[in-house]
């Protein structure tokens, strides 16, 4: 009886809206970081993070807490918005701002060195399979557990752990070659 009551309450719109709202502060940054790693543009990554919450709000009636934790569900939405973004970008000619970030008051040599390191890591990340990359981004930048990552990608947590290990080893190998 009480189980039914709590399930009913968890499924109520007001409850889900409150739950989504309470995740905003923590997960806006994580989702923006996730989008940034995928698309390389800070402003657009921030826009995507905002859109994730708006889209989640519109689709709350389709969300069931018993399936996937809400934060993992948000990353599923983010994943879809990033795909949409790439689709749109094929039609527009813009480049990521952070390719050539020049900050005032920073030593240009250091900036160049950092950009080179960033470029190496980026190149290494590009060598990963799409799924391996997705696992690392969700784990390292989204802060999701292996289980939650598996729920976003429809994989078991064991499969996520294995992909995580092979992806890290591969990046490690590629960065060692660069050295």
């Amino acid at each position: 009886m009480s189980d039914n009551l709590s399930k009913g309450k968890a499924d109520s719109k007001e409850y889900k809206e409150s739950a989504l709202s309470s995740l905003y502060e923590e997960y806006f940054d994580k989702i923006a970081r996730y989008a940034y790693v995928r698309i390389g543009n800070r402003v657009d990554a921030e826009d995507i993070a905002g859109d994730v919450f708006l889209k989640a709000l519109k689709s709350l009636n389709t969300y069931k807490e018993r399936g996937v934790p809400m934060q993992a569900w948000l990353f599923r939405i983010a994943h879809n918005l990033v795909i949409d973004y790439f689709r749109k970008m094929k039609k527009r000619k813009t480049v990521p701002i952070d390719d050539v970030e020049i900050e005032g008051g920073i030593n240009p040599a250091k900036v160049a060195e950092r950009n080179m390191e960033l470029e190496q890591v980026k190149k290494a990340m590009e060598q990963l399979t799409q799924e391996q990359r997705e696992v690392l981004v969700l784990r390292f930048f989204g802060g999701l557990s292996s289980r939650e990552t598996g729920q976003v990608l429809n994989k078991s947590d064991g499969a996520v752990r294995e992909m995580q290990r092979t992806a890290i080893e591969k990046i490690r190998g590629l960065l060692s070659l660069e050295d």
Binding site: L57, G104, L118, F140, Q164, I168, I171
Partner: protein
């Protein structure tokens, strides 16, 4: 065995995500430290390479949009609910009261029927008499308790920004200038930029987004190197503390000096935003210079691309009192 290592690595990733150090994790798994260390260092390299914290203003603006959407949903829900919903909340109270009254009435009538004519009996107290006359199990009346509130706090909508459109005026308290930092601008014969509008975020409760369309939105950046500037708007803005300025660019086109070739200068986004705090007052003329630059990326082998970017450190506001003489000169 491999499986165990993956679990341990996974545990370390979780701990590092929560702020733990590599050393602390290795200390718990000394037998695997040699294997784990390079992997965890790789994790740090990847994290560092992509370190990024969203702009607080961007986050705040997105949050305001979310709160507005949340409020709208709540309003729609309230509007679609049937009237007299308060009756539903009271229905159990009324049911209980009605049950007690009915039982009391039955009890009273029963006593009257059983009593000889003319004899009076005290009016039975419903709560005591009812059970004695109705020996069956007393009806279970559900206790009315307020619904416990959800575990998560209810959202406190933040005030949403109010949109204002500023009007141009020669006697205004605000001048908007465009300038250009050197970088790759020397490669160009001309760089023509079309600015659609400028928006400024004014702090307050609620925040205000003040927008204006430039009177002169076409700018050639090659003429604005160094200290050169071009005024694109002059008018009145509300007094207050402003925190960021965005220009909305529709196109930017460059002609290369060497070849006369027309090249596209790419935009990181349609909106170029800088975060800069400045004050606008009624009797002070605030001149804001928005500095842009064109940078080159890539190499001659892979191809050079040009990108337009705002220069935060070169941009900013200056202030000077508006004198009566200036007012008269303008007139």
């Amino acid at each position: 065995m491999k499986n165990d290592f993956e679990k341990i690595l996974d545990d370390c990733v979780d701990r590092i995500n929560q702020g733990d150090s590599i050393e602390s994790c290795l200390a718990d798994y000394p037998a695997l430290a040699r294997q784990l260390r390079p992997m965890l260092q790789t994790l740090f390299s990847v994290k560092e390479a992509y370190s990024f914290v969203p702009f607080p203003d961007a986050k705040r603006a997105a949050r305001e949009g979310f709160n507005i959407a949340l409020e709208n949903l709540s309003r729609k829900r309230e509007a679609s609910q049937p009237h007299f919903t308060w009756l539903q909340g009271w229905s159990r109270v009324w049911a209980t009261a009605a049950a007690v009254l009915v039982i009391a009435a039955i009890a009273y009538t029963g006593i009257r029927l059983a009593t000889p004519q003319g004899e009076t009996v005290p009016y039975p107290e419903p709560s005591i008499a009812a059970p004695s006359l109705e020996p069956g199990p007393s009806p279970v009346v559900p206790s009315i308790q307020p619904e416990p509130s959800p575990a998560v706090p209810s959202p406190q909508p933040e005030p949403s920004p109010v949109m204002l459109v500023a009007k141009p005026s020669l006697e205004g308290n605000f001048v908007f200038l465009i300038s250009d930092d050197v970088n790759a601008i020397g490669d160009f014969e001309s760089v023509n930029l079309s600015i659609l509008k400028v928006s400024l975020l004014k702090s307050g409760n609620p925040d205000e987004l003040v927008e204006f369309e430039p009177e002169q939105g076409e700018v050639d950046l090659t003429l604005l190197k160094g200290d050169n500037t071009q005024e694109i708007w002059r008018g009145n803005l509300p007094e207050g503390q402003y925190t960021n300025v965005s220009i909305h660019v529709s196109s930017v086109l460059g002609i290369l000096k060497e070849t006369g070739e027309e090249v596209e200068i790419k935009l990181p986004s349609d909106k170029l935003r800088i975060t800069k705090d400045f004050q606008i007052s009624k009797d002070i003329l605030t001149t804001f210079t928005y500095d842009l630059t064109v940078v080159a990326a890539g190499s001659p082998q892979s191809g050079i691309k040009y990108i337009l970017k705002p220069q935060v450190d070169q941009s900013g506001a200056t202030h000077k009192p508006i004198t009566q003489k200036e007012k008269t000169d303008i007139e």
